[in-house]
């Protein structure tokens, strides 16, 4: 029979997921199966998506869930519809908070990626020869998204481990996850600490850090006094690197949508068509991309 595979993601508007879909589609073309792309921003939509896949005769699906705690429900729903299940990006957990081992997963730990951000900022502070006690840090936060908390906490852990004073880290809570919200939140922090001349910034993704960088520009802090490192590496970050002169957006940690999209789809296909079970756990890593290096980094990761 024809193979039909679902690819369900939590935020279809995000470029990251666009890329995952794009690469999964490539696998579909190569192997000749049908890929069904569904966006499911909340638990209820996930349930409906799985039912829908079952109804149209898919044999399995890959999912990035809106919340990892949805685990048991998704596992049950998949079983009820007789669908094979794999997760991507974020790993399901059970009621006890432990990962559900039985579901094959490809992803990257949110804490780890945050740590990479923290480490690269710490290294650049060192490189610029700044005195850490004179530097302020903007933590662009969006605490209702668990992944976001894990990422910034990872960054903070790495920074403090490198000797950054915890009391210099200021919270800039964004009301939404877009650049404007981050810009407004960060502006307040900057104005509250008008005496601080050098700033670093980190957050959930590139948009958040970009907002903080825009804020530093709007209050007149020169680019060389700002180090912002984002997460993602899609257009918003690349556009920044393409600007004629360097901005405070120092770098971004790119994770590869290629592996996440292409490989998961391929593995699922093998599982269905040839009964070859995928590896239970594959962890990918993020790579730091800078203004000068992003082209190569992207090539290495197979994007472009």
């Amino acid at each position: 029979a024809d193979v039909k595979i679902g690819f369900v993601v939590k935020q279809p508007e995000e470029p990251w997921f666009q890329d995952e879909w794009k690469f999964a589609q490539k696998a579909a073309e190569e192997k000749g199966f049908t890929l069904v792309e569904i966006g499911a921003p909340d638990g209820e939509k996930v349930q409906a998506a799985i039912d829908n896949l079952g109804a149209q005769g898919a044999q399995g699906f890959i999912i990035c869930v809106p919340d990892v705690k949805l685990g048991p429900g998704i596992v049950a729903k998949a079983a009820a519809n007789d669908l094979k299940l794999m997760t991507v990006d974020d790993r399901l957990v059970g009621a006890d908070g432990e990962p559900i081992e039985s579901v094959p997963h490809m992803g990257i730990s949110a804490v780890k990626i945050g740590e990479t951000v923290g480490q690269s900022i710490a290294a650049e502070i060192e490189a610029r020869g700044w005195d850490m006690s004179e530097v302020g840090a903007i933590r662009v936060s969006y605490d209702q998204l668990p992944t976001a908390v894990d990422r910034v906490e990872g960054a903070i852990a790495a920074l403090t481990a490198a000797g950054f004073p915890a009391e210099n880290i200021y919270d800039a809570p964004q009301a939404k996850t877009d650049t404007e919200a981050a810009l407004n939140a960060a502006t307040t922090v900057l104005n509250q600490h008008a005496d601080v001349k050098k700033w670093i910034a980190f957050g959930l993704n590139d948009e958040a850090v970009l907002g903080a960088v825009r804020a530093t520009e709007s209050v007149g802090i020169p680019a060389e006094n700002v180090i912002g490192v984002g997460i993602g590496g899609a257009e918003s970050a690349i556009n920044e690197f393409k600007k004629p002169s360097a901005t405070g957006f120092y770098g971004t940690v790119i994770i590869s949508p290629k592996r996440h999209g292409y490989e998961t789809a391929l593995n699922m296909y093998e599982w269905i068509a040839n009964n070859k079970a995928p590896e239970p756990l594959i962890l990918t890593s993020g790579s730091l991309a800078l203004r000068d290096t992003y082209v190569d980094v992207r090539k290495d990761l197979g994007i472009e």
């Binding site: 279809p12 508007e13 049908t34 069904v36 792309e37 569904i38 966006g39 909340d42 638990g43 209820e44 939509k45 996930v46 349930q47 409906a48 998506a49 039912d51 829908n52 079952g54 109804a55 149209q56 005769g57 809106p66 919340d67 990892v68 705690k69 949805l70 685990g71 048991p72 429900g73 049950a76 519809n81 957990v93 059970g94 009621a95 006890d96 908070g97 605490d143 209702q144 998204l145 668990p146 908390v149």
Partner: protein, 313 residues
């Protein structure tokens, strides 16, 4: 010929248009008219459908409730936490229902007694309640200890999942409440002409409080069903639900200017929203185009209904 026109343009015209559309979809979209898909479709509209029952009353009485999404999330959360804490699912459900009714009653009280605009009041409580949901859960989903809880959503009766039964029962109950009871008629009267209702001795203040309390209670029912279906209490669940529910109602002919409402219309409105979503996924329409298609369907549905009702004048 003439009787066909009568059917199309009559009170039940929307239902007829809907039936025709349904037939077309069934014939043209592969996999649509299968038992599995229809059950899946029905389950996907359970939350909207349940909440629409009371939203209909709210709108019919010329009010507005933006806090339903937050209340659904909050009560689902409470149901899980309370079940976990007391070790009894029944206790958990009771506490959740009570807290839902409480949220609603507070809305109603503020709106009716201080005469504050319903939009602003419920916009405020929408944020407050969402905040509370986030605070009690620390922003993370809360898992369910007793797997019995899942059975609320997983169990079936005559092959049909419980949530669908619940939704169906509420449709019937609220349809009856609207058309056949003093409560329903008073609601329509308040919406149609609040001043006249008041001067006729209808206790407008207490009616409004009741309507909102009922809305909160029903949100709790939806919240519980949702928590059971997604097997956890999620503080971020059901964001944006308010707009979907209000659209479903308006699509079904409920007037935002109050005084006009019908349960069949609302059911059709809910179904149109659900089918649109379902069919787009069955047809594998790309995410970005889904936005456009969803918008167009909404427009066409009201446009058709409008043509129908002006033609009949």
């Amino acid at each position: 010929m003439n009787s066909l026109k009568k059917i199309l343009l009559g009170d039940q015209g929307l239902v007829v248009i809907f039936a025709v559309a349904f037939a077309i979809v069934s014939l043209t979209v592969p996999n649509f008219l299968t038992e599995r898909n229809i059950l899946g479709l029905l389950q996907s509209v359970v939350t909207i459908g349940i909440v629409a029952c009371t939203m209909m009353f709210c709108l019919a009485s010329r009010d507005f409730d933006l806090s339903v999404g937050s209340t659904v999330a909050f009560t689902g959360m409470i149901a899980v936490i309370a079940s976990n804490m007391t070790g009894s699912i029944v206790m958990g459900l009771i506490i959740a229902l009570l807290s839902g009714a409480l949220v609603g009653a507070v809305n109603g009280f503020v709106i009716a007694c201080f005469r504050i605009n319903a939009l602003i009041t419920t916009l405020a409580t929408m944020q407050i309640v969402r905040g509370l949901a986030l605070i009690v859960s620390d922003g993370r989903a809360v898992g369910i200890n007793d797997p019995g809880f899942y059975q609320l959503a997983l169990s079936r009766f005559l092959g049909i999942p419980t949530p669908i039964w619940v939704m169906g029962a509420l449709f019937i109950a609220f349809g009856f409440l609207l058309n056949r009871t003093v409560f329903g008629k008073n609601t329509l009267a308040i919406g149609g002409n609040p001043e006249a209702a008041r001067l006729a001795g209808v206790n407008v203040v207490s009616m409004r409080i009741w309507i909102f309390a009922l809305q909160g209670l029903i949100c709790a029912v939806a919240g519980i069903m949702l928590a059971s279906r997604i097997t956890s209490g999620q503080p971020n669940a059901a964001t944006g639900l308010e707009l979907s529910v209000i659209s479903a109602c308006v699509l079904g002919g409920v007037s935002l200017a109050g005084g006009r409402a019908a349960m069949t219309g609302v059911i059709v409105g809910v179904m149109i929203m659900g089918i649109a979503e379902n069919v787009m996924n069955l047809l594998n329409i790309q995410a970005f185009y889904q936005y456009v298609v969803r918008g167009l369907i909404l427009l066409i549905a009201v446009l058709l209904d409008n043509l129908r009702s002006t033609a009949s004048r």
